[in-house]
Symmetry: C2
């Protein structure tokens, strides 16, 4: 039942935590010894978690998704291998996914009940805990670029709705006509959703069709300078109402990064991810509790979230470059690459 993809075997070195210390027992990557001479970097990405099974995905679509995940990883890896920053790398990876119709973010964003595309995004810099988040934007081509502009060019952390777009207009982020976010697949999905609403209540539609609920893209990286960054972008829930805000733009829930511990980007049933403060909890278990990344990620995703019935997963990178891609759902679009490990992509729970 455990579906975890940890690149490193964690050795629990010390069970006695040294409180307050930034020196904690770290996971030991058994493969890192040979490659210790090469400059270290790690990059992980996700394109959403959910009921993704082989019988629901034809071979052509699967190949196309894997190609896009590969392209996203390569975009970030090129930057990291060249000595660039983790912020630039994750932004590049996320933009590739935002520009693809495969994922629920940017161009491929789902429609709200009113037939609009309302997107959220967040980014965090683990070196100084600076962060930027936006919610409910409708005209920003790449929401992750606006989240980054909020972080770097404003004194604030979070802007919502038309205010966020007013800031975007002022700051010179690329804007598009809302029709850019129209894709036939997502429009049909909304029509199916609205059709179902005539026959059953909204709650049971989401219950029976988890794919309406999910969809996010995200990336986390550590660069050669030891700086961690994390970012997440989403179109939210199909048929969402009431200006619902999920976990993506909530710093600490869907996105968190701290050089002292780790960076995390989450994807799943957002309400549970907010209530469990998923991203920050994983980092806090490392920093305050002395756990390894693998232990912390499993504790939150495979124990706490499973208990709460909160479906989804996370990707993470810790301060030593260890990576974790952990999910309790049927599948998660994902991929990773480091200085010492080849680029790999994954979709299903058995790979």
């Amino acid at each position: 039942m455990k579906k975890q993809f940890i690149t490193s075997i964690a050795l629990v070195v010390a069970m006695t935590a040294v409180l307050f210390s930034n020196e904690q027992s770290s996971a030991s990557d058994t493969r890192s010894i040979d490659e210790s001479a090469s400059p270290k970097y790690s990059l992980v990405i996700h394109g959403g978690a959910g009921t993704i099974t082989r019988d629901r995905l034809d071979a052509e679509t699967e190949a196309s998704i894997r190609a896009k995940l590969t392209e996203a990883l390569e975009a970030g890896q090129t930057i990291l291998a060249g000595g660039g920053t983790s912020l630039d790398a994750i932004q590049a990876s996320i933009m590739v996914m935002e520009n693809s119709a495969h994922f629920n973010a940017g161009h491929g964003a789902v429609f709200t009940a009113q037939g609009r595309n309302e997107m959220d995004a967040a980014i965090m810099d683990g070196s100084d805990l600076n962060a930027g988040a936006i919610t409910g934007v409708t005209r920003v081509k790449n929401p992750i670029t606006l989240a980054r502009a909020v972080m770097e060019k404003s004194r604030h952390v979070m802007f919502s709705g038309t205010g966020a777009e007013e800031f975007a207009d002022n700051i010179g982020v690329e804007m598009v006509d809302p029709s850019y976010f129209y894709t036939e697949r997502r429009w049909k999905s909304l029509q199916n959703f609205l059709e179902s609403q005539k026959k059953q209540d909204t709650a049971s539609i989401y219950e029976e069709n988890p794919e309406f609920k999910f969809g996010t893209v995200g990336a986390v990286a550590i660069d050669q300078h030891g700086n961690i960054a994390a970012g997440t972008s989403t179109g939210g829930m199909t048929g969402k109402m009431f200006g619902r805000v999920g976990d993506v733009p909530i710093i600490g829930a869907g996105t968190y990064a701290n050089n002292k511990s780790c960076g995390v980007s989450a994807t799943g049933h957002g309400e549970f991810f907010i209530r469990a403060t998923v991203a920050h909890s994983i980092c806090a278990l490392m920093e305050y509790g002395g756990l390894s990344l693998a232990e912390a990620a499993n504790k939150i995703v495979m124990e706490q979230l499973v208990e709460m019935k909160g479906s989804g997963g996370i990707i993470a990178v810790d301060k030593d470059g260890n990576t974790a891609l952990v999910f309790n759902s049927k599948g998660m679009y994902r991929g990773s690459v480091t200085n010492s490990e080849p680029l790999t992509t994954g979709i299903f729970d058995d790979e």
Copy 2:
């Protein structure tokens, strides 16, 4: 320099944290032994932190504010002493402050740059980690009641803007005309702010006039059943633009509650409170790091936030009923009462 008001003297019982255990070293309240027979409850409130000094507050205003803090505490205490829930108690306390013109929440909310009142609120139930949050509402008389309705009557955690008000209309929360939030004092404050903007940039106005930045009300309680609840409500920053969202509606930043550790409501320069994930960090230091409430609150407010230059404070109650009211600013409107300690209010840093 340390301005802390801890009701209990913390004994560091064990520096060796038992990982994963909910049994942690707890702060020892030296006054709890005598009263151990009476049913235990604790309630703390705040009405905002900032540059609150004796020379800025005339005697009449001070007396009026202390009377209102007392009224808010009594409203919650009555419920707790009668065996009611911590959720009901904190809501009652917060509503008293929301209905007063003294505090930047509800009726006394500050004005945005556009001359509107846009309010945020959040509430969390420590017994099941359920939570509700709203941002940017303009017609809800008591925003804390809408946050609670989101928690209890929707499947979501957070709604923003007009969507939040559409939900409020549907659910039957008390609505008012936006003119209800007009107070002469706050209107003059906005005019002063706008006048200053003609002469200097916005950043330096906030720098020189910290009172434009601050203002929040909040309450945290543990009831006789051992359940912790926390809530926070605010009108945001005077002259705010771009739909800026502060820490108040961010679960884990301005508001957090968990029966395993503690409940926290924060007030201060919101951006820093989001970046430091203040409320959840204090609880995580207790649950994962084995710290007492006093140690955890000091670590975050007096060390981490001071380092980041994040001005403000927190109020908190832990699972054993210990209370903490800690701030690094000149003052914080505050008060506390427990089953064994008399009702007290405070404003300045030397009381």
